[in-house]
C-alpha cells in the first residue's frame, strides 16, 4: 500500500517537473508562429504580410530635415516606402544608393519614398542626403516617437528598417536590416501590381 503510494508520488513529481519544462519550451515555440506572414525567398528579414493580416501603420506628423511639417496621413492612397535610417549607420549608408535608384524607378508608378532619420543631427543628416543624392524627404525622429509608434505594429528593432505601406495605410512588407534591390522591387511589384518602369 505504502510503496504504491510512494511510487505515485514520485510519478507525480516527475510529471510536474516535465510539465514545467514543457510549458517553458512551448512558450518559446509559440512565440515563433503567427499567420499571414511569409518570407521573401525564405529570408526571415524580408517579411510579407498577406492582405487581411497587414498591421496598420500609425500616423505621425513631424518636421522634415528642411524644416517643413509633414503628416504621414497625407500619403494615404499611395504606396509608401518608409525607410528608417541614420547617417551614422553603416548598412544605411550601404543601402542608400539602392534606395535612391528604386525611388527613381518607382516614381512613375506613384510610389512615394519617405525617410525617418533616427538618432541623428540635422547637420549630419543633411550632409548624408546631399552626399547620396537622396531626392525624397526625410523626417527627423529626434523624440523617438515615430520609431516607438511603428514598433507597436512591426518589430522595428534597429536601423535600417524599410517598410512598404499599401494604399490603405497598412504595412504590406518589411525588410529588417539592409534592403537589397531585388527585395525592394519584389515587394513593390507585389504591392503596386507593377514592375519597375
Amino acid at each position: 500500500m505504502f510503496r504504491g503510494k510512494r511510487r505515485a508520488v514520485v510519478l507525480v513529481a516527475a510529471v510536474c517537473t516535465g510539465a514545467l519544462l514543457a510549458v517553458v519550451l512551448l512558450a518559446g515555440w509559440a512565440s515563433g508562429g503567427s499567420s499571414g506572414v511569409s518570407y521573401l525567398d525564405g529570408n526571415t528579414n524580408a517579411v510579407l504580410y498577406a492582405a487581411g493580416h497587414r498591421p496598420l501603420a500609425p500616423d505621425f506628423t513631424a518636421s522634415t530635415l528642411t524644416g517643413s511639417r509633414l503628416s504621414f496621413s497625407s500619403y494615404r492612397g499611395r504606396v509608401v516606402v518608409l525607410n528608417f535610417w541614420g547617417s551614422w549607420c553603416v548598412p544605411c549608408r550601404e543601402e542608400a544608393p539602392t534606395l535612391a535608384v528604386v525611388a527613381e524607378q518607382y516614381q512613375r508608378a506613384g510610389v512615394a519614398f519617405l525617410g525617418v532619420d533616427v538618432r541623428d543631427t540635422t547637420a549630419s543628416a543633411e550632409a548624408f542626403v546631399r552626399n547620396f543624392g537622396v531626392t525624397y524627404p526625410s523626417v527627423s525622429d529626434s523624440s523617438s516617437q515615430i520609431t516607438l509608434a511603428f514598433t507597436a505594429a512591426v518589430p522595428v528593432s534597429g536601423t535600417p528598417t524599410t517598410l512598404v505601406v499599401d494604399r490603405t495605410g497598412h504595412i504590406a512588407g518589411a525588410v529588417f536590416g539592409q534592403a537589397t534591390y531585388s527585395e525592394l522591387t519584389a515587394m513593390l511589384a507585389k504591392v503596386t501590381g507593377k514592375t519597375a518602369g
Binding site: 508520488v9 507525480v12 551614422w88 533616427v118
Partner: protein
Amino acid sequence: MTDVRVPEADPFDAAAQERDGRPPSPAAAAPGGLGLAGWLKWAWRQLTSMRIALVLLFLLAVGSVPGSILPQQGTDAAGVQQYYTSHPGLAPWLNHLGLFNVFAAPWFAAIYLLLFASLVGCVVPRTFRLVGSARSLPPRAPRHLTRLPHSAEYTVALGPQDAVQVAERALASHGFRLRRPADGGGSPDAGEPWVSAEKGYLREVGNLLFHLALLGVLVSVALGGLFGYKADRLLVQGSTFADTASQLDELYPGRLVSDADLGPFTITLNQFEASYIASGPQRGQPSSFDAQISYTARPGGPVGSYRLEVNRPLSVDGAKVYLIGHGYAPVFRVTDARGQVVYNAPTPFISGSSGNFLSEGVVKVPDAQPQQLGFTGIFVPTAVDVGGVLQSAFPAADNPVVSMIAYAGNLGMNSGPSQSVYQLDTAGMRRLTTSPQVLQVGQSLKLPGGQGTLTFTGYVPWVSLTITHDPGQIPALVCGIAALGGLLLSFMVRRRRVFVRARADSGGGSTVRVGGLTRTDASGGFEAEFASLADELRSAQRAAAAGQAAPQPGSEPGTEPDSEPDSGHSQHEGK
C-alpha cells in the same frame, strides 16, 4: 532546511507510521543488483534528499561568487576586455569555464535545474504526506504512559469514562486533535478508557511553506531570466530616447523577450548637474549628481518629471531606470572643403582611468567632401599643463579644453561591419595634424590644404542610464519573506502529543495517567507546557468530580449511561 526529509526516523510522520511492521523497502538499501529502474529510483531518492539539496544550494552560492568577483559579459563587457589585457594567460581559461558569464553558464544552469528538481521532488511528496497526516488521527495511546518522556499520575474521585471525557474537553479547548478508542481500529482496552491528543500541525505547514517558497524563489529568478531585460543608454542633455531596441545602446533581453515586449516609455534629459567637493582632502569627490528628466509612460501619455539620482531610480511602466554614470559631450561643428556644415553635434566623450573626467572620444564625419574626416581627442574639464602634458585638475568644467588629432580618408563606414562610435578605424586614413591641437571653447582647428574646419563650440553633460525590467523581483521578494516565515514556523512550533488513560480504582474513583511526547525539544518549553496541562487536566477532573458529587451524591460515575466517548464530539482540527 529543516528536518523534514527523514521519514524513516520520524515517529511523527503519518506515512512513516503506516509502514510500521512492514519489511524495509529494498530501494532504501544499497542499489546493487537492482536493475535500471532500481538505480533510477535510487538516484531520484538521492537527488531529492536533504543532503543533496543542501549541497546544491551551497554550490549555487559558491557558483555565483565568481559572478561578483570577475567582470561579467552582460554587465561589464569593458571590464572583461580589461581583464583579458591584464591576464592574457588566465582569461581564456576562465572564459572556457564560463566564468565571465556565470549566470548563463551551462554548469550554473545544471546546478539550478538540479536544485529545482530536488526541491520539486521533495515538496510534491511532502505535500501528499502533509495532507495525509492532516487527515490522519493521532496514534493510539500507548499502554504504559509512565515510560514516556513526560508523564504524570494522580487519582481523582471520578469514574474512568468521565475522567477521560473531562480530559478530552480540556485538551480540545487547547486546540488538540483527539482520538478515542472508538475512532479507529482496534478494540477498546477493557476497562481503561483513553484519549490521544496531538497538536502542532502548523510546523508541517511551515515546513511546506518554506519549501514551496524556495521553489517560488527559483521560479521567480527564472521568470526574470526569461521575461526580463536589461539595457543601457547614454543620453546627452537635451535629447530624448524611447525604450525600443533601436534606441538603446545595449540590450540584454531575457530568453523569451522580443523587441515588442519593451516598455513604450520615453525619457528626455532636461538638465544634469553634478557638484564636487572643492577643497580639503576630499577635493574632487562628487557631492551630488542629479538629472532632471521628463518622461511619458506611453506615447501621448501625460508627461511626468523626475529627479533621477544615484540609487533613486525611476519606476516607469514596469521597468526601473537607474542613473549610473555621467560625463561630458563636447560640441563640435565641422565644415568640409566645400564650406558646408557636415557635422554639428554634442559628442559623448568617455572618461578614462586618468581621473577628474579627462575623457576620450572620436568625431566621425562620414559625409564630408571630398574626403571623409575623422578626429580623435580628449576633453579636459579643468585643464592644467603638467610638464607639457594636459591633465585635469578638477572634475567640474572650470577650464574646459579639447585636444584633437585630425584624419582624412576612408572611415570604413560605407560598407562592412558596424562600428563603435567611440573608436576611429584609422587604417584607411591619413593623419592631417602632426601634434594634437588644443582648443578652448570657440576656437577652431583649420585643417591643412583647405580640407575643412573643426570648431569646439561648447560642451553639455551626458548621463548613462541602465534600464532593468525584472518581472521576478516582486515574486522573489514575496517568496523570500514566505520562506523565512515558514522556516520560523517550523522552528518555533513543535508537534506534541498528550495521552490520557484512566483506570478504575477500588474506591469508585480512578487513577489517571497522563503522558506527553514531543519530537524535538531543542527550544525547550514542552516540559512546562506538559506540567501545566497535566495540572489543568487534574483540576478540571477534580472540579468535575466535585460538581458531580454535589447534585447527585449517590451516583456511580462508572455506570453512567453516556459512555460512548465519541457521541456528540466533533472532530477537532489540530492547529
